[in-house]
Protein backbone atom coordinates (compact mmCIF):
# COMPACT_ATOMS: atom_id res chain seq x y z
CA UNK A 1 0.00 0.00 0.00
CA UNK A 2 1.75 3.13 -1.15
CA UNK A 3 0.82 6.64 -1.98
CA UNK A 4 2.45 9.06 -4.32
CA UNK A 5 4.24 11.01 -1.58
CA UNK A 6 5.78 7.88 -0.12
CA UNK A 7 6.97 6.67 -3.49
CA UNK A 8 8.38 10.08 -4.23
CA UNK A 9 10.15 10.25 -0.86
CA UNK A 10 11.75 6.89 -1.58
CA UNK A 11 12.84 7.83 -5.09
CA UNK A 12 16.61 8.51 -5.21
CA UNK A 13 16.78 8.28 -1.44
CA UNK A 14 19.55 5.68 -1.42
CA UNK A 15 22.56 7.55 -2.69
CA UNK A 16 26.16 6.40 -2.77
CA UNK A 17 28.11 8.04 0.02
CA UNK A 18 30.75 9.47 -2.28
CA UNK A 19 28.26 11.67 -4.12
CA UNK A 20 27.19 13.15 -0.79
CA UNK A 21 30.70 14.19 0.20
CA UNK A 22 30.75 17.98 0.43
CA UNK A 23 34.52 18.35 0.49
CA UNK A 24 34.74 19.20 -3.19
CA UNK A 25 31.86 21.65 -2.99
CA UNK A 26 33.60 23.28 -0.04
CA UNK A 27 36.81 23.76 -1.96
CA UNK A 28 34.88 25.00 -4.94
CA UNK A 29 33.14 27.55 -2.76
CA UNK A 30 36.43 28.76 -1.34
CA UNK A 31 37.93 28.98 -4.80
CA UNK A 32 34.98 30.89 -6.23
CA UNK A 33 35.05 33.24 -3.28
CA UNK A 34 38.76 33.91 -3.57
CA UNK A 35 38.53 34.37 -7.32
CA UNK A 36 35.67 36.78 -6.98
CA UNK A 37 37.37 38.84 -4.32
CA UNK A 38 40.56 39.09 -6.31
CA UNK A 39 39.11 39.42 -9.78
CA UNK A 40 41.05 36.36 -10.82
CA UNK A 41 38.22 34.32 -12.23
CA UNK A 42 38.62 35.56 -15.76
CA UNK A 43 42.36 35.03 -15.81
CA UNK A 44 41.95 31.51 -14.52
CA UNK A 45 39.43 30.43 -17.10
CA UNK A 46 41.44 32.05 -19.89
CA UNK A 47 44.56 30.31 -18.75
CA UNK A 48 42.88 26.94 -18.90
CA UNK A 49 41.04 27.82 -22.07
CA UNK A 50 40.85 25.87 -25.31
CA UNK A 51 43.29 28.12 -27.09
CA UNK A 52 46.16 27.43 -24.74
CA UNK A 53 49.09 25.37 -25.88
CA UNK A 54 48.48 21.74 -24.93
CA UNK A 55 51.58 21.40 -22.84
CA UNK A 56 50.93 24.66 -21.06
CA UNK A 57 47.36 23.64 -20.44
CA UNK A 58 48.43 20.36 -18.97
CA UNK A 59 51.22 21.94 -17.03
CA UNK A 60 49.15 24.45 -15.30
CA UNK A 61 49.57 21.72 -12.76
CA UNK A 62 53.15 22.53 -12.11
CA UNK A 63 53.20 26.09 -13.24
CA UNK A 64 53.59 29.37 -11.46
CA UNK A 65 50.09 30.36 -10.72
CA UNK A 66 50.28 34.13 -10.91
CA UNK A 67 47.51 36.23 -9.55
CA UNK A 68 44.88 33.53 -9.65
CA UNK A 69 46.71 31.08 -7.46
CA UNK A 70 48.01 33.76 -5.15
CA UNK A 71 44.42 34.80 -4.71
CA UNK A 72 43.50 31.33 -3.59
CA UNK A 73 46.02 31.55 -0.82
CA UNK A 74 43.87 34.08 0.97
CA UNK A 75 41.59 31.37 2.22
CA UNK A 76 44.34 29.04 3.25
CA UNK A 77 44.63 27.39 6.59
CA UNK A 78 48.11 27.95 7.84
CA UNK A 79 50.23 27.25 10.80
CA UNK A 80 47.60 26.05 13.25
CA UNK A 81 47.23 22.52 12.01
CA UNK A 82 43.85 23.14 10.49
CA UNK A 83 42.08 24.47 13.55
CA UNK A 84 39.98 27.47 12.86
CA UNK A 85 40.41 30.38 15.24
CA UNK A 86 39.22 33.90 15.62
CA UNK A 87 42.78 35.01 16.18
CA UNK A 88 43.62 33.97 12.66
CA UNK A 89 41.41 36.68 11.25
CA UNK A 90 43.89 39.18 12.57
CA UNK A 91 46.76 37.53 10.77
CA UNK A 92 46.58 39.55 7.62
CA UNK A 93 44.10 37.49 5.65
CA UNK A 94 41.52 38.94 3.36
CA UNK A 95 38.87 40.58 5.50
CA UNK A 96 36.21 38.67 3.63
CA UNK A 97 38.02 35.35 3.52
CA UNK A 98 36.21 32.31 4.84
CA UNK A 99 38.43 29.88 6.60
CA UNK A 100 37.44 26.28 7.00
CA UNK A 101 38.78 24.38 9.94
CA UNK A 102 39.67 20.87 8.99
CA UNK A 103 42.54 18.67 9.99
CA UNK A 104 43.61 17.37 6.62
CA UNK A 105 44.75 13.81 6.17
CA UNK A 106 47.37 12.79 3.64
CA UNK A 107 44.85 10.50 1.98
CA UNK A 108 42.28 13.31 1.86
CA UNK A 109 44.72 15.67 0.18
CA UNK A 110 45.82 13.01 -2.31
CA UNK A 111 42.26 12.05 -3.21
CA UNK A 112 41.43 15.71 -3.69
CA UNK A 113 44.52 16.09 -5.85
CA UNK A 114 43.44 13.06 -7.86
CA UNK A 115 40.05 14.62 -8.53
CA UNK A 116 41.68 17.88 -9.53
CA UNK A 117 44.17 16.10 -11.80
CA UNK A 118 41.36 14.18 -13.46
CA UNK A 119 39.68 17.43 -14.44
CA UNK A 120 42.64 18.58 -16.53
CA UNK A 121 42.47 18.18 -20.28
CA UNK A 122 44.59 15.34 -21.63
CA UNK A 123 47.29 15.84 -24.24
CA UNK A 124 48.44 13.32 -26.82
CA UNK A 125 51.83 11.69 -26.51
CA UNK A 126 54.37 13.75 -28.49
CA UNK A 127 56.74 12.26 -31.05
CA UNK A 128 60.08 11.06 -29.71
CA UNK A 129 62.01 13.85 -31.43
CA UNK A 130 59.90 16.71 -30.04
CA UNK A 131 61.64 19.15 -27.73
CA UNK A 132 60.28 20.00 -24.32
CA UNK A 133 61.17 23.28 -22.68
CA UNK A 134 61.03 23.49 -18.91
CA UNK A 135 61.68 26.43 -16.68
CA UNK A 136 62.46 25.04 -13.27
CA UNK A 137 62.49 26.97 -10.02
CA UNK A 138 64.73 25.43 -7.42
CA UNK A 139 65.18 26.38 -3.81
CA UNK A 140 68.12 24.76 -2.13
CA UNK A 141 68.41 25.62 1.54
CA UNK A 142 66.79 28.98 1.04
CA UNK A 143 68.61 29.93 -2.16
CA UNK A 144 66.29 30.27 -5.12
CA UNK A 145 67.42 29.79 -8.71
CA UNK A 146 65.64 29.48 -12.03
CA UNK A 147 66.99 27.44 -14.92
CA UNK A 148 65.90 26.98 -18.52
CA UNK A 149 66.19 23.46 -19.82
CA UNK A 150 65.41 21.70 -23.06
CA UNK A 151 65.21 17.97 -23.59
CA UNK A 152 64.00 15.82 -26.43
CA UNK A 153 61.05 13.69 -25.46
CA UNK A 154 63.12 10.52 -25.88
CA UNK A 155 65.99 12.06 -23.89
CA UNK A 156 68.66 11.54 -26.56
CA UNK A 157 69.52 15.24 -26.53
CA UNK A 158 69.26 17.93 -23.93
CA UNK A 159 70.30 21.57 -23.76
CA UNK A 160 70.78 24.38 -21.29
CA UNK A 161 71.97 27.98 -21.26
CA UNK A 162 75.45 28.83 -20.01
CA UNK A 163 76.77 32.40 -20.11
CA UNK A 164 74.14 33.26 -22.69
CA UNK A 165 75.10 30.38 -24.96
CA UNK A 166 73.03 27.29 -25.63
CA UNK A 167 74.93 24.15 -24.72
CA UNK A 168 73.58 20.96 -26.29
CA UNK A 169 74.40 17.51 -25.04
CA UNK A 170 73.82 14.20 -26.81
CA UNK A 171 73.68 10.85 -25.05
CA UNK A 172 76.31 8.59 -26.55
CA UNK A 173 78.17 5.41 -25.78
CA UNK A 174 81.59 4.26 -26.98
CA UNK A 175 81.90 1.65 -29.73
CA UNK A 176 85.23 0.83 -31.28
CA UNK A 177 86.64 3.91 -29.60
CA UNK A 178 84.07 6.21 -31.20
CA UNK A 179 81.07 7.89 -29.55
CA UNK A 180 77.79 6.57 -30.95
CA UNK A 181 74.43 8.20 -30.39
CA UNK A 182 72.36 6.05 -28.06
CA UNK A 183 69.33 5.62 -30.28
CA UNK A 184 68.07 2.85 -28.03
CA UNK A 185 66.49 5.56 -25.92
CA UNK A 186 64.04 6.32 -28.72
CA UNK A 187 62.97 2.71 -29.18
CA UNK A 188 59.71 1.47 -27.73
CA UNK A 189 59.72 -0.87 -24.77
CA UNK A 190 59.96 -4.44 -26.10
CA UNK A 191 56.80 -6.54 -25.75
CA UNK A 192 56.71 -8.44 -22.51
CA UNK A 193 58.99 -5.98 -20.72
CA UNK A 194 57.65 -4.06 -17.76
CA UNK A 195 58.14 -0.34 -18.59
CA UNK A 196 58.69 0.36 -14.90
CA UNK A 197 61.71 -1.93 -14.88
CA UNK A 198 63.40 -0.26 -17.87
CA UNK A 199 62.32 3.25 -16.86
CA UNK A 200 65.37 5.50 -17.18
CA UNK A 201 64.11 8.87 -15.93
CA UNK A 202 63.79 10.45 -19.40
CA UNK A 203 60.47 12.07 -20.30
CA UNK A 204 59.39 9.41 -22.79
CA UNK A 205 60.42 6.53 -20.56
CA UNK A 206 58.58 8.15 -17.65
CA UNK A 207 55.56 8.76 -19.83
CA UNK A 208 55.48 5.12 -20.97
CA UNK A 209 55.98 3.90 -17.40
CA UNK A 210 53.07 6.02 -16.19
CA UNK A 211 50.89 4.87 -19.07
CA UNK A 212 51.61 1.25 -18.15
CA UNK A 213 50.18 1.60 -14.65
CA UNK A 214 46.96 -0.28 -14.18
CA UNK A 215 44.06 1.68 -12.84
CA UNK A 216 43.05 0.32 -9.43
CA UNK A 217 45.36 1.75 -6.75
CA UNK A 218 46.24 -1.73 -5.55
CA UNK A 219 47.37 -2.70 -9.04
CA UNK A 220 49.48 0.44 -9.35
CA UNK A 221 51.21 -0.28 -6.06
CA UNK A 222 51.61 -3.92 -6.94
CA UNK A 223 53.55 -3.00 -10.08
CA UNK A 224 55.66 -0.45 -8.25
CA UNK A 225 56.35 -2.78 -5.32
CA UNK A 226 57.93 -5.32 -7.61
CA UNK A 227 60.31 -2.67 -8.93
CA UNK A 228 61.27 -1.06 -5.63
CA UNK A 229 61.68 -4.42 -3.91
CA UNK A 230 64.00 -5.49 -6.70
CA UNK A 231 66.14 -2.36 -6.56
CA UNK A 232 66.24 -1.89 -2.81
CA UNK A 233 65.70 -5.34 -1.40
CA UNK A 234 63.17 -6.25 1.23
CA UNK A 235 63.62 -5.18 4.87
CA UNK A 236 64.48 -8.09 7.11
CA UNK A 237 62.13 -7.08 9.94
CA UNK A 238 58.51 -7.81 8.96
CA UNK A 239 57.25 -4.96 11.13
CA UNK A 240 59.32 -2.49 9.18
CA UNK A 241 58.42 -3.96 5.83
CA UNK A 242 55.08 -2.29 5.32
CA UNK A 243 56.28 1.19 6.21
CA UNK A 244 59.58 0.87 4.39
CA UNK A 245 57.89 -0.34 1.23
CA UNK A 246 55.31 2.43 1.45
CA UNK A 247 58.08 5.00 1.71
CA UNK A 248 59.85 3.60 -1.31
CA UNK A 249 56.67 3.37 -3.32
CA UNK A 250 55.82 6.96 -2.51
CA UNK A 251 59.26 8.21 -3.45
CA UNK A 252 59.34 6.19 -6.65
CA UNK A 253 55.97 7.40 -7.87
CA UNK A 254 56.54 11.01 -6.83
CA UNK A 255 59.84 11.09 -8.68
CA UNK A 256 58.29 9.37 -11.69
CA UNK A 257 55.66 12.10 -11.88
CA UNK A 258 58.29 14.80 -11.65
CA UNK A 259 60.53 13.22 -14.27
CA UNK A 260 57.67 12.83 -16.70
CA UNK A 261 57.48 16.33 -18.09
CA UNK A 262 54.32 15.21 -19.86
CA UNK A 263 51.84 12.86 -18.25
CA UNK A 264 49.43 10.50 -20.03
CA UNK A 265 45.71 10.91 -19.58
CA UNK A 266 44.53 9.92 -16.13
CA UNK A 267 47.93 8.74 -14.93
CA UNK A 268 48.46 11.54 -12.46
CA UNK A 269 45.06 10.97 -10.95
CA UNK A 270 45.69 7.23 -10.72
CA UNK A 271 49.03 7.80 -9.03
CA UNK A 272 47.55 10.15 -6.43
CA UNK A 273 44.77 7.70 -5.68
CA UNK A 274 47.34 4.94 -5.26
CA UNK A 275 49.55 7.06 -3.00
CA UNK A 276 46.50 7.82 -0.87
CA UNK A 277 46.31 4.17 0.15
CA UNK A 278 49.88 4.00 1.43
CA UNK A 279 50.39 3.81 5.20
CA UNK A 280 52.57 6.23 7.11
CA UNK A 281 52.37 9.15 4.70
CA UNK A 282 52.23 12.44 6.53
CA UNK A 283 50.78 15.83 5.72
CA UNK A 284 52.23 19.23 6.65
CA UNK A 285 50.18 22.37 6.29
CA UNK A 286 51.49 25.90 6.18
CA UNK A 287 54.36 25.12 3.81
CA UNK A 288 55.57 27.03 0.77
CA UNK A 289 56.65 25.70 -2.59
CA UNK A 290 59.77 26.69 -4.53
CA UNK A 291 58.02 29.70 -5.96
CA UNK A 292 56.90 30.88 -2.57
CA UNK A 293 53.25 29.98 -2.88
CA UNK A 294 51.42 28.49 0.11
CA UNK A 295 51.41 24.72 -0.05
CA UNK A 296 50.48 21.53 1.70
CA UNK A 297 53.26 18.96 1.74
CA UNK A 298 52.38 15.29 1.57
CA UNK A 299 54.95 12.54 1.77
CA UNK A 300 57.73 11.23 3.92
CA UNK A 301 59.69 13.47 6.24
CA UNK A 302 63.09 13.27 7.86
CA UNK A 303 66.35 12.31 6.21
CA UNK A 304 65.81 11.27 2.60
CA UNK A 305 62.24 12.42 2.77
CA UNK A 306 60.27 13.25 -0.31
CA UNK A 307 57.11 15.29 -0.46
CA UNK A 308 54.70 16.41 -3.11
CA UNK A 309 53.49 19.97 -2.66
CA UNK A 310 49.89 20.90 -3.36
CA UNK A 311 47.97 24.12 -3.56
CA UNK A 312 46.00 24.16 -0.30
CA UNK A 313 42.81 25.32 -1.96
CA UNK A 314 42.69 23.81 -5.42
CA UNK A 315 44.87 20.80 -4.50
CA UNK A 316 46.77 21.12 -7.73
CA UNK A 317 50.26 19.72 -7.50
CA UNK A 318 52.83 22.50 -7.29
CA UNK A 319 56.14 20.72 -7.04
CA UNK A 320 58.32 18.29 -5.19
CA UNK A 321 60.62 18.61 -2.19
CA UNK A 322 63.41 16.39 -0.96
CA UNK A 323 65.38 16.38 2.25
CA UNK A 324 68.79 14.86 2.77
CA UNK A 325 71.26 14.80 5.64
CA UNK A 326 74.09 17.33 5.37
CA UNK A 327 77.04 16.07 3.30
CA UNK A 328 79.28 15.51 6.33
CA UNK A 329 76.74 13.05 7.72
CA UNK A 330 76.13 11.24 4.47
CA UNK A 331 76.89 7.57 4.58
CA UNK A 332 75.76 4.80 2.26
CA UNK A 333 73.06 4.11 4.81
CA UNK A 334 71.74 7.63 5.21
CA UNK A 335 72.15 8.95 1.69
CA UNK A 336 72.63 5.89 -0.48
CA UNK A 337 70.11 4.25 -2.74
CA UNK A 338 69.09 1.82 -0.05
CA UNK A 339 68.57 4.44 2.63
CA UNK A 340 65.27 4.31 4.38
CA UNK A 341 63.54 7.44 5.50
CA UNK A 342 64.12 8.21 9.11
CA UNK A 343 63.01 11.00 11.28
CA UNK A 344 65.83 13.02 12.72
CA UNK A 345 66.08 12.13 16.35
CA UNK A 346 64.02 9.00 15.91
CA UNK A 347 65.17 5.42 15.84
CA UNK A 348 66.84 5.96 12.50
CA UNK A 349 69.34 3.97 10.57
CA UNK A 350 72.24 6.22 11.48
CA UNK A 351 73.39 7.15 14.97
CA UNK A 352 74.81 10.39 13.62
CA UNK A 353 71.41 11.87 12.96
CA UNK A 354 69.94 13.70 15.92
CA UNK A 355 67.02 15.99 16.52
CA UNK A 356 69.37 18.91 16.07
CA UNK A 357 70.59 17.73 12.69
CA UNK A 358 69.73 20.31 10.11
CA UNK A 359 68.59 18.54 6.96
CA UNK A 360 69.27 19.91 3.50
CA UNK A 361 66.10 20.68 1.66
CA UNK A 362 65.61 21.02 -2.09
CA UNK A 363 62.32 22.20 -3.48
CA UNK A 364 61.48 22.14 -7.18
CA UNK A 365 58.63 23.52 -9.24
CA UNK A 366 58.02 23.78 -12.94
CA UNK A 367 57.49 27.43 -13.79
CA UNK A 368 56.69 26.50 -17.37
CA UNK A 369 56.55 23.40 -19.51
CA UNK A 370 55.98 23.64 -23.25
CA UNK A 371 56.53 21.68 -26.42
CA UNK A 372 58.78 23.83 -28.62
CA UNK A 373 60.21 23.49 -32.16
CA UNK A 374 63.86 23.58 -31.14
CA UNK A 375 66.20 24.03 -28.17
CA UNK A 376 66.44 27.69 -27.22
CA UNK A 377 62.76 28.30 -28.00
CA UNK A 378 60.45 29.03 -25.12
Amino acid sequence: MVDEMQVLARMRSELPSDVLDTEHAERLFQTKLSDEQNGAGIARSRWRGVGAHPARRRYGVWALGGAAVLALALAVVSGLGGIGAPAASKAGRSPAGVRFSRALSAAGVLHAAAREAASISPIPEPAAHRWIYTSVVQVNDGHRSISDNWIRFDGIQSAYMQDGKLITHTVTYMRDGQPVVDNALAKPVPPGTNPLVVYNGMPMSSYVALASLKQPPAAVLNDVRRVVSRSHGTPSRPAAMSHALAVREFKFLAQLLWNASLVPTGAESDVFNALATLPGISVQQGQTDAVGQPAIAVGTTGANGKQLLFNPTSFRVLGIRSTTPPPQLCTPTTCGAGATTTTAGGTGTSPTLTAETRLNSTSLAYAKVALVPAPGDR
Binding site: L8, L80, F100
Partner: protein, 215 residues
Protein backbone atom coordinates in the same frame (compact mmCIF):
# COMPACT_ATOMS: atom_id res chain seq x y z
CA UNK B 1 49.82 26.05 23.67
CA UNK B 2 47.20 24.62 25.93
CA UNK B 3 45.50 27.95 26.51
CA UNK B 4 45.43 28.64 22.80
CA UNK B 5 43.95 25.22 22.18
CA UNK B 6 41.31 25.84 24.84
CA UNK B 7 40.48 29.17 23.26
CA UNK B 8 40.07 27.52 19.89
CA UNK B 9 37.95 24.79 21.40
CA UNK B 10 35.68 27.30 23.09
CA UNK B 11 35.36 29.28 19.90
CA UNK B 12 34.43 26.14 17.98
CA UNK B 13 31.87 25.17 20.63
CA UNK B 14 30.28 28.59 20.44
CA UNK B 15 30.10 28.33 16.69
CA UNK B 16 28.39 24.97 16.89
CA UNK B 17 25.80 26.27 19.38
CA UNK B 18 25.03 29.44 17.46
CA UNK B 19 21.83 29.70 15.45
CA UNK B 20 21.94 30.18 11.71
CA UNK B 21 20.93 33.79 12.11
CA UNK B 22 23.71 34.40 14.63
CA UNK B 23 26.25 32.83 12.31
CA UNK B 24 25.09 34.90 9.36
CA UNK B 25 25.07 38.18 11.26
CA UNK B 26 28.40 37.25 12.86
CA UNK B 27 29.90 36.48 9.45
CA UNK B 28 29.57 40.11 8.41
CA UNK B 29 32.32 41.05 10.82
CA UNK B 30 33.90 37.63 11.16
CA UNK B 31 33.62 35.81 7.81
CA UNK B 32 34.85 32.49 9.15
CA UNK B 33 31.49 32.09 10.89
CA UNK B 34 30.12 31.30 7.46
CA UNK B 35 32.22 28.16 7.37
CA UNK B 36 30.16 26.75 10.22
CA UNK B 37 26.98 27.54 8.30
CA UNK B 38 28.41 25.71 5.31
CA UNK B 39 29.27 22.67 7.39
CA UNK B 40 25.84 22.67 8.94
CA UNK B 41 23.78 22.84 5.79
CA UNK B 42 25.96 21.68 2.90
CA UNK B 43 25.36 17.94 3.44
CA UNK B 44 21.58 18.28 3.31
CA UNK B 45 21.73 20.66 0.40
CA UNK B 46 24.14 18.41 -1.46
CA UNK B 47 21.78 15.50 -1.02
CA UNK B 48 18.87 17.52 -2.32
CA UNK B 49 20.75 18.79 -5.37
CA UNK B 50 22.11 15.33 -6.17
CA UNK B 51 18.57 13.97 -6.10
CA UNK B 52 17.45 16.63 -8.52
CA UNK B 53 20.40 17.01 -10.87
CA UNK B 54 22.70 14.08 -10.23
CA UNK B 55 26.20 14.25 -8.78
CA UNK B 56 27.91 15.81 -11.78
CA UNK B 57 26.45 19.24 -11.20
CA UNK B 58 25.81 19.07 -7.49
CA UNK B 59 29.17 20.34 -6.27
CA UNK B 60 28.97 23.41 -8.43
CA UNK B 61 25.39 24.21 -7.45
CA UNK B 62 26.14 23.80 -3.75
CA UNK B 63 29.25 25.94 -3.96
CA UNK B 64 27.44 28.61 -5.96
CA UNK B 65 24.55 28.57 -3.50
CA UNK B 66 26.84 29.37 -0.61
CA UNK B 67 28.74 31.91 -2.66
CA UNK B 68 25.53 33.80 -3.40
CA UNK B 69 24.46 33.47 0.21
CA UNK B 70 27.78 34.83 1.39
CA UNK B 71 27.55 37.67 -1.08
CA UNK B 72 24.12 38.70 0.18
CA UNK B 73 24.52 37.82 3.84
CA UNK B 74 24.13 41.43 4.92
CA UNK B 75 20.61 41.44 3.55
CA UNK B 76 19.56 38.34 5.49
CA UNK B 77 16.66 39.15 7.79
CA UNK B 78 18.13 37.88 11.00
CA UNK B 79 15.11 38.71 13.17
CA UNK B 80 12.56 37.07 10.91
CA UNK B 81 14.36 33.91 9.92
CA UNK B 82 16.49 32.19 12.55
CA UNK B 83 16.70 29.10 10.32
CA UNK B 84 18.65 29.61 7.08
CA UNK B 85 17.36 26.53 5.29
CA UNK B 86 14.57 28.27 3.36
CA UNK B 87 17.00 30.97 2.29
CA UNK B 88 19.66 28.51 1.13
CA UNK B 89 17.22 26.15 -0.59
CA UNK B 90 15.60 29.12 -2.29
CA UNK B 91 18.94 30.13 -3.77
CA UNK B 92 19.63 26.55 -4.75
CA UNK B 93 16.20 26.28 -6.38
CA UNK B 94 16.98 29.25 -8.58
CA UNK B 95 20.27 27.69 -9.60
CA UNK B 96 18.68 24.32 -10.24
CA UNK B 97 16.07 25.97 -12.46
CA UNK B 98 18.87 26.95 -14.81
CA UNK B 99 19.42 23.25 -15.36
CA UNK B 100 15.76 22.52 -15.94
CA UNK B 101 16.28 20.77 -19.25
CA UNK B 102 18.93 18.46 -17.87
CA UNK B 103 16.76 17.64 -14.89
CA UNK B 104 13.74 16.80 -17.01
CA UNK B 105 15.88 14.75 -19.35
CA UNK B 106 16.99 12.61 -16.40
CA UNK B 107 13.44 11.98 -15.26
CA UNK B 108 12.43 11.01 -18.77
CA UNK B 109 15.37 8.62 -19.07
CA UNK B 110 14.46 7.01 -15.76
CA UNK B 111 10.83 6.68 -16.82
CA UNK B 112 11.78 5.17 -20.15
CA UNK B 113 14.55 2.77 -19.12
CA UNK B 114 14.12 2.21 -15.40
CA UNK B 115 17.78 3.11 -14.99
CA UNK B 116 18.81 6.26 -13.24
CA UNK B 117 21.74 6.58 -15.58
CA UNK B 118 22.78 10.10 -14.75
CA UNK B 119 22.78 9.43 -11.06
CA UNK B 120 24.22 5.97 -10.90
CA UNK B 121 26.57 5.77 -13.83
CA UNK B 122 29.63 5.96 -11.61
CA UNK B 123 28.57 3.15 -9.32
CA UNK B 124 28.27 -0.60 -9.59
CA UNK B 125 24.63 -0.52 -8.70
CA UNK B 126 23.19 -0.04 -12.14
CA UNK B 127 21.97 -3.60 -12.30
CA UNK B 128 20.05 -3.15 -9.09
CA UNK B 129 18.50 0.04 -10.34
CA UNK B 130 17.27 -1.70 -13.49
CA UNK B 131 14.67 -3.30 -11.33
CA UNK B 132 13.68 0.02 -9.80
CA UNK B 133 10.07 0.02 -8.74
CA UNK B 134 7.60 0.53 -11.51
CA UNK B 135 5.97 3.22 -9.39
CA UNK B 136 9.23 5.21 -9.33
CA UNK B 137 9.43 5.05 -13.09
CA UNK B 138 5.91 6.34 -13.33
CA UNK B 139 6.67 9.18 -10.94
CA UNK B 140 9.80 10.07 -12.89
CA UNK B 141 7.61 10.52 -15.93
CA UNK B 142 5.21 12.60 -13.89
CA UNK B 143 7.98 14.84 -12.56
CA UNK B 144 9.19 15.40 -16.10
CA UNK B 145 5.78 16.60 -17.20
CA UNK B 146 4.92 18.73 -14.15
CA UNK B 147 5.10 22.50 -14.50
CA UNK B 148 8.38 23.59 -12.99
CA UNK B 149 6.79 25.66 -10.22
CA UNK B 150 4.78 22.67 -9.05
CA UNK B 151 7.82 20.43 -9.22
CA UNK B 152 9.91 22.87 -7.22
CA UNK B 153 7.35 23.16 -4.44
CA UNK B 154 6.73 19.43 -4.32
CA UNK B 155 10.38 18.46 -4.18
CA UNK B 156 11.28 21.08 -1.59
CA UNK B 157 8.68 19.51 0.67
CA UNK B 158 9.36 15.85 -0.07
CA UNK B 159 13.08 15.73 -0.86
CA UNK B 160 14.39 18.74 1.06
CA UNK B 161 11.88 18.12 3.87
CA UNK B 162 10.97 21.77 4.21
CA UNK B 163 7.64 22.60 5.77
CA UNK B 164 4.99 24.38 3.71
CA UNK B 165 5.90 27.64 5.44
CA UNK B 166 9.60 27.16 4.79
CA UNK B 167 8.88 26.29 1.17
CA UNK B 168 6.86 29.46 0.84
CA UNK B 169 9.81 31.44 2.22
CA UNK B 170 12.19 29.69 -0.14
CA UNK B 171 10.06 30.39 -3.18
CA UNK B 172 8.96 33.88 -2.05
CA UNK B 173 5.28 33.03 -2.46
CA UNK B 174 2.38 32.86 0.02
CA UNK B 175 1.95 29.57 1.79
CA UNK B 176 -1.44 29.16 0.13
CA UNK B 177 0.26 29.16 -3.23
CA UNK B 178 2.57 26.39 -2.07
CA UNK B 179 -0.43 24.36 -0.90
CA UNK B 180 -2.21 24.70 -4.21
CA UNK B 181 0.90 23.90 -6.25
CA UNK B 182 1.58 20.78 -4.25
CA UNK B 183 -2.04 19.78 -4.32
CA UNK B 184 -2.17 20.01 -8.09
CA UNK B 185 1.14 18.16 -8.40
CA UNK B 186 -0.14 15.37 -6.18
CA UNK B 187 -3.27 15.00 -8.24
CA UNK B 188 -1.11 14.56 -11.32
CA UNK B 189 1.18 12.05 -9.65
CA UNK B 190 -1.70 10.05 -8.22
CA UNK B 191 -3.49 9.99 -11.55
CA UNK B 192 -0.38 8.72 -13.31
CA UNK B 193 0.19 6.04 -10.70
CA UNK B 194 -3.38 4.89 -10.91
CA UNK B 195 -3.27 4.84 -14.67
CA UNK B 196 -0.22 2.62 -14.46
CA UNK B 197 -1.90 0.42 -11.86
CA UNK B 198 0.83 0.88 -9.31
CA UNK B 199 -0.97 2.76 -6.57
CA UNK B 200 -3.72 2.13 -4.08
CA UNK B 201 -5.45 4.53 -1.76
CA UNK B 202 -3.32 5.17 1.31
CA UNK B 203 -4.33 3.97 4.74
CA UNK B 204 -4.81 6.58 7.38
CA UNK B 205 -1.76 5.25 9.27
CA UNK B 206 0.44 5.71 6.24
CA UNK B 207 -0.32 9.33 5.70
CA UNK B 208 2.87 11.30 5.73
CA UNK B 209 3.56 14.37 7.78
CA UNK B 210 2.94 16.32 4.64
CA UNK B 211 -0.54 14.84 4.28
CA UNK B 212 -1.50 15.73 7.79
CA UNK B 213 -0.05 19.17 7.48
CA UNK B 214 -1.94 19.81 4.31
CA UNK B 215 -5.22 18.72 5.85
Amino acid sequence: VRSEHQLLQRWNDEQLRASDAELISGSVAQPECFATLFRRHAPGLQRYVVRRLGPAKADDVVAETFLQAFRHRQRYRVDEAPNARPWLYGIATNLISRERRAEVRQYRALARTGVDGELWQFTDEVDERVSAEASERVLAGSLASLPSKQREALLLVVWAELSYEETAQALHVPVGTVRSRISRARVRLRRDLEAAGTSESPDEEQLTTTDREER
